[in-house]
Symmetry: C2
Subunit: 82 residues, 2 copies
């Protein structure tokens, strides 16, 4: 039951980053994105990834692995096309 809640939460919070990632890849417009915010967020998500790994918490690990990829793409585009 607990893991189901975790996976549902993971799907929702992860998917909510997809529109931003797709939009940024398509338009290459990153003017509305805060570099500081995304840098902090990306490092933080990496922290959650390590935390999920250390705690052997699969939903936390998987969710943050996908979110890290998406946030990483957005951050890379921001640095490349600013």
């Amino acid at each position: 039951m607990t893991d189901t809640v975790g996976y549902c939460a993971a799907i929702l919070t992860t998917l909510s980053f997809l529109p931003q990632a797709i939009k940024t890849i398509k338009t290459k417009d990153t003017s509305g994105i805060s570099l500081l915010m995304y840098s902090m967020f990306t490092i933080g998500v990496f922290g959650w990834l390590v935390y999920g790994f250390l705690k052997r918490d699969i939903p936390v690990f998987v969710a943050n692995l996908v979110t890290l990829s998406l946030a990483g793409i957005i951050l890379t585009m921001k640095i490349k096309y600013k």
Copy 2:
């Protein structure tokens, strides 16, 4: 050690939502915010809150409690001033 990683991650991902929340409260400009994204995200964060509670995982619970408040404020502003 594990909890320290969790708290550092929590502080980074939570703080990264502060600039957006402050900006939205100040300007009441929510035109650049996706209603679908924030709705999904807010429900997802609520899911993580329940997950953290069920797992007795303090860093996950606290991080998502603060993020839920910030995302909730942004979502409320979006619905009110759209």
